[in-house]
C-alpha cells in the first residue's frame, strides 16, 4: 500500500514535473503571503511584513529544494540532470566526444560481435532435451596408437546388451544414398541408425514417428525412412503430408514414417534416416559406427565411465585378436563443439577482443583523467558549495556511463556489420555459425560491458577527483603537470597500453606467419587446373565388373576429350574426405612396438600423374592390376622410410590391416608424400591399392584440365548421364577451392586477430600521443624557463621523448613476457613457427617501439618550437 502510493507519486513527480513544481511554488509562496498577512494584521507595514515573512521562511528556493530532494524519484531526477550536464559537456568538446565514443565503440563492438559468435556456436545449449545426459561413445586403443575410433557392429551390439548405465545407446552410420524417381537423380546425405539412436536424442518428430523397437532387428523390413524437414520442404513443400509416401532410395522403395526437425551439431546435414539393420553375424573388425548414448537418470559420468571400462575389458578378453587394448571413451555433449580446436579458437578471439577493449578503456581513462584535472577547479567549487563527495562521484560516473553507453550503441552497429562480414566468410566448418545474429543475449551482453566499461574508465578519474579538491583550492590549479601521483598514474596507463597491444600484436603476427607457412608449405600435390567430382554408383553396380567397366569407360571418355590432360578415380578427396585407415607392417621384420597407421585409397593408374604426385621408384598400376588379382600396393615415401629404412622397398611384402585380417601385398612403387589430411598436418603415411575390381562408391573423379569449371562440370554431367542416367554427380569443385575452403577458418581467425591487433596498435599510439601532448601543454611554462636558461631544441626534444618513452619501454618488456606466457595457448593454430619465435617478437617490438617514438616526437617537437616569450606568458 505504502509502496504503491510512493510509486504512483514517483510517476507523477517524474511525468508531471512542471506541474508538481508549479504547485510547490504556489504552495510555498502562499505560505509566505499568509505569514505576511498575519504580520500586517498585527500592524506592520506591508513591505516590512513581507520581508519579515521571507526571513522567517528562510529562503523560498531552499525550502523548495528541500522538498524536491525528499521527493519520491529524486534520484532519478538527479540522474537525469547529471546526464544532461554530461551531454552538454560532451557537446561542448566535440573532438573529445567523437574520439572517446569511437574508441569505446571499437572495443565494445568487437566484443559484442565475437561474443555473439561464441554464444551461438559454443554456449547456446544443444537442442536436445536434457542434453547433459547425452554422450558420444568412441573407441580408443592407445597400445595401437588409435584415438577416437568408430566402433564395430559386433562391439556395438555387445555394448548395447552389456551396459548398465545407459537408457539408450544408439548407433549411427553416416552414408549417402541415391534418390531416383525424381526429375534429376541426386545423392542425399543419409544415416543408417538403430532404433535407440533417435530415441536417445529425444527430439520429437515434427510429423509421424521415429523408428520403433524391432524395426532394426535381423530380418525386419527396413525400407522405412525418417526424412528431414529440409528434404520434405524441398521435395514436397514444407507442410505437405508426407507420412506414408514413398521414396526411391538406391533403387528401392522406402516408406516415409516420420519427419525430423533440423538437428544441430553433426546431424544437421542428414536428410534421410533409415534403420541400420542388425545382421545375424556381425563384423567385429571394421570400425564404422558412431555411438550416442543417453545416460539413465541420476547416473554420473564417472559411473558411466566405469561401466564402459568394464564392458571394454569383457570385449578385450572375449575377442583379443581385434579388441586387445580396447578402451571405450565417453565425450559429454557439452564438449561436442567446445572440446575441439575451434572452441579454443573462439575463446582466443574473445581474449583478443577483451584485450582490445582493455586498451580502449586505458585510453579513455587517460583522456578522462586529463579532463578531470582540467576541471579540478570546477569540482572544487562545486564541493565547496555543498555538493557531497558522493554526489560528485555519481556525476563523474554518470558522465563515463554516458560515454560508454554512446560507445556501446555505435559499437552495436559495428558488431552488426562485423557479424555480417563473418557470416559472409563462413568457412563452413564451424557449426551453427550461419545462425549468428545480434540477439537479445548479445544486447544484454553489450549492456553489461557498457556498465563495466563505465566503471573501469570512470574509476581512476573519480578517485583522482576525490584527492585533488583541497590542493586545487589551495594553489588555484597551478600545479605544473597535475601532480606527481597523477603523472605516475599516466605512466602506468601507457605501460599497460603498450604491454596489452604488444601481446595482441605478437599473437596476430604468429597467426599470420602460420597462415603464410601453411600457404607455402610443400603440399606434395598440384592444384592448378585440378578438379574433382563425386560420382555415386547406385545399388546394382556391385555385381561383377559393372563398377569397373563404368569407371574405365567414363575415364576413357574424359581423358580423350580435348581439354583434359589426365583423369583418374580415387576413393576419397584430399583435405576434406573422411580418412580410411589401416595398420601396416613389413613382412619378415620383427613386430614393431607400435603399428603405424596409414591412410589407404583405391586409385586408378593415372591418379599420381593427374594430381602431380611424383612416382619416385617403380611404377603405378596398369590395366591388369586389380583387387582380387596379385596383391600389389604402392606406398608413399614416408611409409617406405618407416618400414624399410635405407633399403629398396620394391618387391618387398607389406602386411596391411595389421592387427585385423592381416593381408600381404607386394610393393611395386613409391610415390611422393602428400598432405591430404590438411595442409597444416604432417604428410600422411599413405598406401594405394588398385580401384579396378572394387565397386567402392562414391567414386571421386579427379581431372587435370585447361577448361573452365563450368564447361568441365557440364561435360562431366553429360558423359555420366549418357552412360547411365540414374547416376548422380555432385560436388564439382576445383582443388584450389577445396584448398581455400580447408584454410578458410584459419584465414578468418588470422584476419580478425590481425585486424584487432592493428586497431590496438592505433589506440596505443593515440594514447601515448595524447598523454605526452597533454603533459607538454601543461608544462609550457617549465619549457619556457628551460629555454630561457639556454636549453637547446635537441636537448628539449630528447628530454621529452625520453620521458615519454620510459613507460613505453617498461610496457614493451612486460608485453614480451606476457606474450611468451600466453602464446602457448595458440597451440595447434600455430604452424611452422614456435610460440616464442624470436624473429616475430623482435619485429613486433620494433614496430611498437617505432610507433611509440613517432607518437612522442610530435608533441616534443611542438614543445621545442615554442618561443620563450609565448611560453612564459601562459604563466
Amino acid at each position: 500500500m505504502l509502496l504503491l502510493s510512493r510509486l504512483v507519486h514517483m510517476l507523477r513527480n517524474l511525468v508531471l514535473r512542471r506541474r508538481v513544481d508549479r504547485d510547490l511554488d504556489d504552495e510555498v509562496r502562499g505560505y509566505v503571503d499568509m505569514l505576511a498577512a498575519e504580520q500586517v494584521e498585527r500592524g506592520l507595514a506591508p513591505e516590512a511584513a513581507a520581508r519579515a515573512a521571507r526571513i522567517h521562511a528562510g529562503g523560498i528556493e531552499q525550502v523548495k529544494e528541500h522538498v524536491r530532494r525528499g521527493r519520491a524519484g529524486a534520484l532519478v531526477v538527479e540522474f537525469g540532470q547529471d546526464l544532461r550536464y554530461g551531454a552538454r559537456l560532451l557537446v561542448r568538446t566535440p573532438g573529445f566526444a567523437v574520439v572517446a565514443i569511437l574508441t569505446l565503440a571499437l572495443g565494445i563492438g568487437a566484443n559484442v560481435a565475437i561474443f555473439s559468435v561464441l554464444h551461438a556456436v559454443l554456449l547456446r545449449p544443444l537442442p536436445f532435451p536434457d542434453a547433459d545426459r547425452l554422450v558420444i561413445i568412441s573407441g580408443s586403443n592407445p597400445s595401437r596408437g588409435w584415438e577416437r575410433t568408430s566402433i564395430s557392429h559386433a562391439n556395438y551390439w555387445d555394448l548395447h546388451r552389456m551396459n548398465e548405465t545407459f537408457l539408450h545407446a544408439g548407433a549411427i552410420q553416416p552414408t549417402s544414398i541415391n534418390l531416383t524417381g525424381v526429375a534429376t537423380p541426386e545423392r542425399l546425405p543419409a544415416a543408417r541408425v538403430t532404433v535407440d539412436l533417435l530415441e536417445s536424442l529425444a527430439v520429437p518428430p515434427l510429423a509421424g514417428r521415429i523408428f520403433r523397437d524391432g524395426e532394426d532387428r535381423a530380418g525386419a523390413d527396413t525400407r522405412l525412412a525418417v526424412v528431414s524437414q529440409r528434404l520434405r520442404g524441398r521435395l514436397f513443400g514444407p507442410d505437405a503430408p508426407v507420412i506414408g509416401r514413398r521414396l526411391l532410395l538406391d533403387g528401392e522403395s522406402y516408406r516415409i514414417v516420420g519427419v525430423m526437425p533440423t538437428l544441430d551439431v553433426g546431424l544437421n546435414g542428414i536428410d534421410v534416416f533409415v534403420p541400420l539393420r542388425r545382421r545375424g553375424e556381425e563384423d567385429r573388425s571394421s570400425f564404422d559406427l558412431g555411438v550416442i548414448g543417453r545416460l539413465k537418470r541420476g547416473v554420473t559420468l564417472e559411473q558411466a565411465r566405469a561401466d564402459l571400462a568394464r564392458v571394454a575389458a569383457v570385449l578385450a578378453s572375449t575377442h583379443p585378436s581385434v579388441n586387445e587394448g580396447l578402451e571405450l571413451v565417453l565425450t559429454p555433449s557439452s564438449e561436442w563443439v567446445s572440446g575441439q580446436t575451434r572452441g579454443r579458437t573462439l575463446w582466443l578471439l574473445m581474449g583478443a577482443v577483451g584485450l582490445l577493449l582493455l586498451i580502449a578503456c586505458v585510453n579513455l581513462s587517460n583522456m578522462l583523467l586529463a579532463r578531470a584535472s582540467a576541471r579540478t577547479r570546477e569540482t572544487a567549487v562545486r564541493s565547496a558549495l555543498g555538493a557531497t563527495h558522493l554526489r560528485l562521484l555519481r556525476q563523474m560516473l554518470t558522465e563515463s556511463l554516458l560515454i560508454s553507453g554512446s560507445g556501446g550503441l555505435v559499437g552495436l552497429l559495428g558488431a552488426f556489420w562485423l557479424l555480417a562480414a563473418v557470416r559472409a566468410s563462413d568457412p563452413g566448418d564451424i557449426p551453427r555459425l550461419s545462425h549468428v545474429s545480434l540477439d537479445m543475449t548479445a544486447v544484454a551482453f553489450a549492456a553489461v560491458v557498457v556498465v563495466l566499461t563505465s566503471l573501469v574508465i570512470g574509476a581512476i578519474p573519480a578517485l583522482h577527483a576525490g584527492h585533488a579538491v583541497a590542493p586545487a583550492l589551495r594553489n588555484g590549479d597551478r600545479s605544473v603537470t597535475g601532480g606527481r601521483a597523477q603523472q605516475r598514474m599516466r605512466g602506468a596507463l601507457v605501460t599497460a597500453e603498450v604491454a596489452l597491444s604488444l601481446v595482441l600484436l605478437i599473437g596476430a603476427a604468429l597467426l599470420l606467419r602460420s597462415l603464410n607457412a601453411v600457404l607455402t608449405v610443400d603440399r606434395g600435390f598440384a592444384t592448378e587446373g585440378r578438379m574433382l567430382a563425386t560420382v555415386h554408383l547406385p545399388a546394382g553396380y556391385e555385381e561383377g565388373d559393372r563398377a569397373t567397366n563404368f569407371q574405365r569407360e567414363l575415364l576413357h571418355q574424359i581423358a580423350s576429350s580435348g581439354s583434359v590432360k589426365a583423369a583418374a578415380a580415387v576413393t576419397g578427396r584430399p583435405l576434406v574426405g573422411r580418412s580410411t585407415g589401416l595398420g601396416i607392417a613389413a613382412a619378415g621384420e620383427p613386430e614393431p612396438a607400435e603399428v603405424p597407421w596409414a591412410s589407404w585409397r583405391l586409385i586408378t593408374g593415372d591418379y599420381f600423374r593427374t594430381l602431380g604426385l611424383p612416382v619416385l621408384r617403380g611404377r603405378t598400376f596398369d590395366e591388369q592390376d586389380r583387387i582380387g588379382g596379385p596383391p600389389r600396393v604402392i606406398v608413399s615415401e614416408r611409409v617406405a622410410d618407416r618400414l624399410w629404412p635405407g633399403q629398396d622397398p620394391l618387391g618387398r611384402m607389406a602386411i596391411l590391416w595389421k592387427g585385423q585380417d592381416e593381408r600381404r601385398f607386394e610393393v611395386i612403387g613409391v610415390v611422393g608424400n602428400m598432405r591430404e589430411r590438411g595442409l597444416a598436418s604432417d604428410p600422411t603415411l599413405a598406401v594405394y591399392l588398385p580401384y579396378y575390381g572394387a565397386s567402392w562408391s562414391p567414386m571421386e573423379v579427379v581431372l587435370h584440365t585447361d577448361g573452365t569449371r563450368e564447361a568441365t562440370a557440364a561435360m562431366l554431367r553429360t558423359m555420366v548421364s549418357s552412360l547411365d542416367p540414374a547416376v548422380p554427380v555432385s560436388d564439382i569443385e576445383t582443388l584450389d577451392d577445396i584448398v581455400a575452403g580447408s584454410l578458410a577458418s584459419r584465414r578468418l581467425v588470422a584476419g580478425l586477430t590481425g585486424g584487432f591487433a592493428a586497431l590496438a596498435l592505433l589506440l596505443a599510439v593515440i594514447g601515448i600521443y595524447g598523454v605526452l601532448a597533454y603533459s607538454v601543454s601543461r608544462r609550457t611554462a617549465e619549457i619556457g624557463v628551460r629555454r630561457a636558461l639556454g636549453a637547446s631544441t635537441t636537448s628539449l626534444v630528447r628530454l621529452i621523448v625520453g620521458q615519454g618513452l620510459k613507460p613505453v619501454a617498461l610496457g614493451l618488456a612486460l608485453g614480451v613476457l606476457g606474450a611468451a606466457a600466453l602464446s602457448r595457448l595458440l597451440g595447434e593454430l600455430l604452424f611452422g613457427v614456435t610460440p616464442t619465435d624470436p624473429f616475430t617478437y623482435a619485429a613486433v617490438v620494433m614496430l611498437v617501439a617505432g610507433a611509440a617514438v613517432l607518437a612522442c616526437v610530435l608533441p616534443a617537437s611542438q614543445a621545442a618550437r615554442l618561443s620563450v616569450t609565448s611560453a612564459l606568458r601562459t604563466e
Binding site: 505504502l2 502510493s5 504552495e27 510555498v28 505560505y31 503571503d33 498577512a37 528562510g58 528541500h66 525528499g70
Partner: protein, 109 residues
C-alpha cells in the same frame, strides 16, 4: 532551520498527523496547530514542514487539494486519509511504549 535528527523527524510526522485529526488545514495552519498542541514547545519552520507534508502525502497518509484560506487566499489543504489515521494510531501506541520505556530509563534510579 537547522536540520532535525531522525528521532525528531519521526516526531514531526506524528505531530503533523495529530494536528490534522482536527480537520483539513493548509501548511501554515498545520504549523500553528503543532505549536498549539505542543504548548509552543515545537515551532515548525517551512524548511522541515513542507518536506514532511510532501513525504506523508507520498506515503498515502495525507491527501491534498487546493482551496480558499480564511482570508480568501489560494492554499493547499491537507487531509488525513484512512491509511493516515491507521498510521497515527500505530505511531501513537508506539510512541507511548517508547516514552514509557524512556521515562523508566531516565527516571529516578
Amino acid at each position: 532551520m537547522p536540520p532535525r535528527t531522525d528521532l525528531l523527524r519521526g516526531t514531526l510526522d506524528l505531530l503533523i498527523l495529530r494536528a490534522l485529526v482536527l480537520g483539513p488545514n493548509h501548511g501554515l495552519g498545520v504549523a500553528r496547530r503543532v505549536g498549539q498542541i505542543t504548548g509552543g514547545a515545537f515551532e515548525v519552520g517551512p524548511g522541515s514542514l513542507f518536506p514532511a507534508l510532501h513525504r506523508l502525502e507520498e506515503n498515502g497518509w495525507l491527501e491534498s487539494e487546493w482551496g480558499e484560506s480564511e482570508n480568501n487566499r489560494r492554499a493547499k489543504y491537507y487531509r488525513l486519509t484512512s491509511a493516515g489515521r491507521r498510521q497515527l494510531r500505530a505511531e501513537t501506541e508506539n510512541w507511548g511504549r517508547i516514552s514509557v520505556a524512556i521515562a523508566r530509563a531516565l527516571g529516578p534510579a
